[in-house]
């Protein structure tokens, strides 16, 4: 039998953080909750294997993200959300600033939104994002730059963050090729 204590501790320490990240990626709290919980259910079914992974949180995040972008899952989640109408009413209202940010994030393409969240929220380097998304590092950097550029006029002013190039010594050729 898999060890429940390890799973419980992992769930307790990571689940809410991952809901936050998935919410930023999807813009829908209920969808994020459902996807994250579904990912944990799948993790428990494979726990003896996943327990040994170097980055279990990344596994959950990737699975949850795939669930979110799956069209069938979206339809199911909408139905679930409909059934949970009473729950929606109980949630505190989101502030206008955050609503603006959610709206802006929804306007940029999903791959750009994903790397924006992975970089600024999950704190992943370009290399880590490339590993998680399965895209080349140059593509990741391009998505990050385009996403930031697209968000700039939609959100209010934000500080220009340090270039992701600092995480990638020796990959300047790729950066210039995709910039």
């Amino acid at each position: 039998m898999p060890k429940a204590d390890d799973f419980d501790e992992f769930y307790a320490t990571t689940s809410r953080r991952l809901v936050g990240q998935l919410f930023a990626m999807t813009g829908d709290l209920n969808e994020a909750e459902d996807a994250v919980q579904e990912a944990y259910i799948r993790a428990w079914q494979r726990w003896p294997r996943i327990q040994g992974y170097h980055d279990r949180e990344a596994w959950i995040r990737t699975v949850a993200y795939r669930i979110c972008v799956n069209a069938w899952s979206k339809a199911r989640n909408r139905l679930t959300a409909h059934h949970r109408a009473s729950r929606h009413a109980e949630q505190p209202e989101i502030s206008p600033d955050l609503l603006t940010l959610v709206s802006a994030l929804r306007k940029i393409p999903e791959p750009q939104r994903r790397v924006i969240v992975l970089h600024y929220l999950a704190g992943l380097s370009v290399e880590e994002m490339a590993a998680e998304t399965g895209a080349p590092a140059g593509t990741v950097k391009a998505r990050l730059a385009r996403g930031r550029k697209a968000l700039a006029p939609l959100v209010s002013d934000f500080d220009e963050p340090p270039s992701p190039r600092i995480h990638l010594a020796g990959q300047s050729r790729e950066t210039s090729a995709h910039a």
């Binding site: 429940a4 769930y11 936050g20 930023a24 428990w44 929220l121 968000l151 934000f158 963050p161």
Partner: protein, 178 residues
């Protein structure tokens, strides 16, 4: 709103984290376990094993291994007397093990045959995980083990149940009567 994008995203994620309605870890595990059992074709029999014996239907009203026409008596008599699942000794089955095996209609005769053929707990787990009985039979098993599997007509669901029950060497030896 003059914060950095990172700060704004952190606030957004904080809102979601604070307001997320998540199940407890135990509930998540229950979902996963139930779904796994459904996928593996486990019968929806809770504590009641039904098995055909000599043309008649015999109902075993406790969570033990199902007796078979081959003469296998429920091997769980010791554990069924301990519904809490505490085995009387390491060789006796726990309530969990007997329930899992009874649901898949695994008989004592079948377990005994596997044990006599020399199956180890690791081999039983491998068979269930491989999900490809035929290929595994050819590659991994000795003639005696192959014959035992063939004679007992074990289905994949039954192998999965055996793997899930995770019988120890002592339990297998006990069931084989050696």
């Amino acid at each position: 709103m003059h914060d950095s994008l990172r700060t704004q995203l952190t606030q957004l994620a904080g809102y979601a984290s604070d307001n997320a309605r998540l199940d407890t870890p135990a509930a998540v595990r229950r979902h996963g376990t139930r779904r796994g059992r459904r996928r593996r074709g486990g019968a929806a029999l809770l504590g009641v094993g039904v098995v055909a014996a000599g043309g008649a239907i015999v109902t075993v009203a406790h969570p033990g291994l199902t007796g078979s026409g081959a003469g296998g008596a429920p091997a769980s008599s010791a554990s069924s007397a301990h519904p809490g699942g505490t085995p009387a000794s390491s060789a006796h089955l726990t309530a969990y093990q007997t329930t899992v095996l009874a649901k898949a209609h695994v008989t004592t005769a079948q377990v005994a045959a596997l044990a006599k053929a020399g199956f180890t707990p690791a081999q039983i787990r491998a068979l269930a995980e491989k999900n490809q009985l035929t290929a595994v039979l050819r590659a991994l098993l000795t003639p005696a083990e192959r014959a035992a599997l063939a004679n007992e007509h074990l289905s994949l669901a039954q192998m999965v149940a055996l793997a899930e029950a995770d019988l120890s060497r002592a339990q297998l030896a006990d069931l084989s009567g050696s």
